[in-house]
C-alpha cells in the first residue's frame, strides 16, 4: 500500500479523462510566469505536496499571486507535515466552486468488492461525516470483476441530487475511477472535494490515490515512482530494498523478529515489561544470515539502548540467524546490550554458534523480553 502525491493522482485522473483543474509543479520563477500565462490569471492556488491529510489546516495550501507564489513555495518545501516532508509545490488554477462533494472508490476488504462512497458533505473529513451524519454517505457495491458501466452509478448520482448532464457526468466519472483502479491496481481513489462549477460541471479538486504494493510487478511506471517515494525515511527505504518490513518507532529497544505477528507481539511484550520498542522489524520467513546482518546494521544506526532478537524458526534456520548475529556483532561494533531468543529449526546449532562467540541465547520469549528490559533499565 502506498499513496501517491496529489499531483501524481491528478495526472492519473487526467490520463483517465477525469476532469481536473489545470496544474503545474513549481520549479522556478519562470514556472510561475508560464503557468499564469497558461491559465490567463495572476492568481492561483499553491498546494504543498505531502503524503498526509490536513494540509489545508497546516497552512500548506494558499491562494497566491505571481508576486507571492515563489516566496510561499520556498517557505513550505521541505517542511515536515505529520512526519512526511512537503516534497513539492503544485500550482493550480482557481476554480469557481458552487458546491463540494465527496467521492471515493475503494477495494473493500470485508466484501472483497469495489465500493463507491459518495457524500454531499465534501471537503471535510469523511470519518467525521460517517460518525456524525451517517445517512449523508451513499454507497454502491460492485463485484470485483465488474465491467463498469455508467448505469451502475446513476442511482448513486441521484441520491447525491445530481440531474441532467451533471448526473451523467457523475456516473461517467465513477466509471473512469473504477477503470483506473482496475488498470493500476489501486485500492483507493478518493476525490475530496469533487466540486461543481457554475455551469454544473464536475471537477476533481483534490486526489488521494493508494496503490496495492503487491502489484508493483505489473505496474512498472507507478512502482518506479514509489521506489523514490519511500526515501523520505532513509532507514525505511533501505529496509524495503533489503526485503525487510521496518517501521521506525520512538522507544528504547531495537528489535528484530521473524514474522509480522511475532514482531508485533515482541513490541507488545517490551511495553508490557515496562520499556518500549524503537522499531518494528520483520525479516520475513526464511531469512538467511545476510538478512539478519542487514537488519542489525539497520537498527544499529538508531539511537537505542538495547537490542532484542526474537525468532521462532519454522522455515528460518536458527544457525543462519546465529551466524548473522555473530558477524554483525563483530563488524558493527555494537555497544548496547543484546538479548537473543531463538527456538525451532536448528536451534541447538544456533545456540552453539552464539555461545562459541560469547553471546548468551534464550529459548523462551517472555523471560528473554524481561531480561533485555532489565538490562536496558539497569544501564540507565
Amino acid at each position: 500500500m502506498s499513496m501517491l502525491y496529489e499531483f501524481e493522482g491528478k495526472l492519473l485522473f487526467k490520463d483517465s479523462k477525469i476532469p481536473i483543474p489545470r496544474i503545474k509543479i513549481y520549479t522556478d520563477t519562470e514556472s510561475i510566469k508560464q503557468f499564469a500565462e497558461e491559465i490567463g490569471s495572476d492568481t492561483m492556488m499553491a498546494k504543498g505536496q505531502a503524503l498526509a491529510g490536513g494540509r489545508g489546516k497546516a497552512g500548506l495550501i494558499k491562494k497566491v499571486t505571481t508576486e507571492t507564489a515563489e516566496e510561499y513555495s520556498k517557505s513550505i518545501i521541505g517542511r515536515d507535515h505529520k512526519g512526511k516532508p512537503v516534497a513539492a509545490v503544485m500550482l493550480e488554477e482557481l476554480v469557481e466552486i458552487t458546491k463540494e462533494y465527496y467521492l471515493a472508490l475503494m477495494l473493500d476488504n470485508k466484501s472483497g468488492s469495489y465500493l463507491m462512497l459518495a457524500s454531499t458533505m465534501g471537503g471535510v473529513d469523511i470519518e467525521e461525516v460517517a460518525e456524525n451524519h451517517p445517512t449523508e454517505i451513499h454507497r454502491t457495491l460492485l463485484p470485483i470483476d465488474t465491467n463498469p458501466q455508467t448505469y451502475h452509478f446513476m442511482e448513486l448520482g441521484k441520491k447525491m441530487g445530481f440531474k441532467a448532464k451533471t448526473l451523467t457526468q457523475f456516473a461517467s466519472i465513477c466509471v473512469k475511477m473504477l477503470k483506473m483502479a482496475i488498470k493500476h491496481d489501486l485500492t483507493l481513489v478518493e476525490i475530496n472535494p469533487l466540486v461543481t462549477t457554475p455551469d454544473d460541471k464536475l471537477i476533481a479538486a483534490d486526489s488521494k490515490v493508494v496503490i496495492d504494493g503487491n502489484s508493483y510487478f505489473r505496474q512498472p511506471s507507478i512502482a518506479a515512482l514509489q521506489s523514490q517515494r519511500d526515501q523520505h525515511t532513509k532507514l525505511e527505504f533501505e529496509a524495503t530494498q533489503a526485503g525487510i518490513s521496518y517501521v521506525q518507532l520512538d522507544g528504547d529497544i531495537g528489535i528484530i523478529a521473524g514474522g509480522a505477528g511475532l514482531s508485533m507481539a515482541t513490541c507488545d511484550l517490551l511495553e508490557f515489561y515496562g520499556s518500549s520498542p524503537a522499531n518494528f522489524l520483520d525479516v520475513g520467513g526464511g531469512a538467511n544470515d545476510e538478512k539478519v546482518y542487514k537488519a542489525l546494521e539497520l537498527i544499529s544506526k538508531m539511537d537505542i539502548k538495547g537490542i532484542f532478537v526474537n525468532f521462532f524458526a519454522g522455515i528460518t534456520r536458527c544457525d543462519d540467524v546465529a551466524r548473522g548475529v555473530v558477524s554483525a556483532n563483530k563488524k558493527l561494533n555494537i555497544k548496547v546490550p543484546i538479548v537473543i531468543r531463538m527456538i525451532g529449526t536448528k536451534d541447538t546449532e544456533g545456540i552453539k554458534i552464539l555461545e562459541e562467540n560469547g553471546i548468551h541465547a534464550y529459548n523462551k520469549m517472555e523471560p528473554s523480553a524481561k531480561k533485555i528490559v532489565e538490562l536496558v533499565k539497569g544501564g540507565n
Binding site: 470519518e127 511495553e271 520467513g285 521462532f312
Partner: protein, 290 residues
C-alpha cells in the same frame, strides 16, 4: 476428525518442483500428509520424492481423486494457479504465497464462493491437524494432538502460541492460519463455526492482530452461536502502534479506532472471550476455566 483436513485428505502441491514447493512437500510427507501429486506445467511425467508430477491440475485430480491443493508459486502466477485449482474440482485450496495483489485475491475469493470451495490464505502458514496431517508450513514438531482449536492471522506468533500450549499439555485439534492479507479466504467466523461443530475441539483460541474487523465479527458470532470457551490474543496491543503504518502484514494497519488492538480486545472481552496479554498466558486461561 478435527476440521477441514485429516489423515485421509489427499493433497496436490502446485509448484512442487520449485524450491519452496519441494522443501515443504518433503516436510509434509514426513509429517504423514498424503501428498498424492505435484503440478508444474511442462514437467508432467517427472517424479519428486516418489510423487508423480502432472502438467495440469485436471490430470492430477483425475489420476488421484485428491480433494485439496496447496499453492507454492510466485505471487504473479497465483491467480492463474488458483483458478486452475478451482476448475479442477478440489474443495480445499490453501495459498501459502505472500505478496499476491489484493485484486487477484478478491477475484479468487469470488470464484471460490461461487463454487463452494474453502480457501485458506494467501500469505498464510496453512493448516495442521496434529498427529494426522498438515497442509502448508506449520512445523509439526511443536504441535501435539489434543482438543484446542486454533485460528490465527499470524505465522510465527501462532507457532509461539501452539508451542506454549503443547508445553503446558494442551494438544491441538486443528490449527488454521488465516494469513496476514487484508482480503483472505476463510476468516475467524467460518473457523469458529467449524470448531463449534467439531466434537474433537473443546477450546478455541483466536489469535488476531491490528487492522480490519474480522475479530469483531468473530466476537459477535461467539455471543450468538459458540458454546465452547474461546480465548483471544491480539498482536499490536501496545501503545507503540502508529496509525496508518503497515506492520509487516499487508492487513496489519490501523485506520481509525475500529482497527486498534484495544478496541478489538474490548469487544472480545464484551463477548465473553478470555483475552491474554502474552502468549504464555493462554494455557493459564484455559487451566482457569477447567
Amino acid at each position: 476428525m478435527a476440521v477441514l483436513l485429516d489423515k485421509s485428505t489427499k493433497v496436490i502441491v502446485q509448484g512442487m518442483t520449485g524450491k519452496q514447493g519441494s522443501f515443504h512437500a518433503k516436510s509434509m510427507i514426513d509429517y504423514g500428509t498424503q501428498i498424492v501429486a505435484g503440478v508444474t506445467p511442462g514437467k508432467g511425467g517427472q517424479e519428486v520424492f516418489g510423487v508423480p508430477i502432472y502438467d495440469t491440475m485436471k490430470e492430477a485430480v483425475e489420476a488421484t481423486q485428491a480433494t485439496a491443493s496447496v499453492v507454492f508459486i510466485p505471487a504473479p502466477f497465483v491467480y492463474s494457479a488458483a483458478l486452475e485449482a478451482i476448475d479442477s474440482g478440489i474443495n480445499l485450496l490453501t495459498i501459502i504465497t505472500e505478496g499476491v495483489p489484493i485484486r487477484d485475491t478478491a477475484r479468487i475469493r469470488r470464484r471460490v464462493h461461487e463454487q463452494n470451495i474453502t480457501l485458506v490464505g494467501p500469505n498464510c502458514p496453512g493448516l495442521i491437524t496434529p498427529g494426522e496431517t498438515k497442509i502448508g508450513i506449520i512445523p509439526g514438531a511443536i504441535c501435539s494432538k489434543g482438543n484446542v482449536g486454533i485460528v490465527s492471522r499470524s505465522g510465527t506468533l501462532t507457532y509461539e502460541i501452539i508451542h506454549n500450549l503443547t508445553l503446558s499439555g494442551y494438544g491441538q485439534s486443528t490449527c488454521i492460519g488465516l494469513g496476514g492479507d487484508p482480503v483472505r479466504g476463510i476468516d475467524f467466523k467460518e473457523s469458529l463455526r467449524l470448531f463449534e461443530q467439531d466434537p474433537d475441539t473443546k477450546h478455541i483460541v483466536l489469535v488476531g492482530e491490528i487492522g480490519g474487523t474480522g475479530e469483531q465479527e468473530a466476537a459477535q458470532l461467539v455471543k450468538e452461536e459458540i458454546s465452547k470457551p474461546v480465548y483471544g490474543f491480539i498482536a499490536g496491543n501496545g501503545t507503540w502502534v502508529k496509525p496508518g503504518k503497515q506492520m509487516g502484514h499487508a492487513g496489519a494497519i490501523v485506520h481509525g479506532k475500529s482497527g486498534t488492538a484495544q478496541e478489538k480486545l474490548r469487544i472480545l472481552n464484551e463477548a465473553g472471550i478470555l483475552t491474554a496479554h502474552t502468549p504464555s498466558e493462554i494455557p493459564n486461561k484455559i487451566k482457569e476455566t477447567m
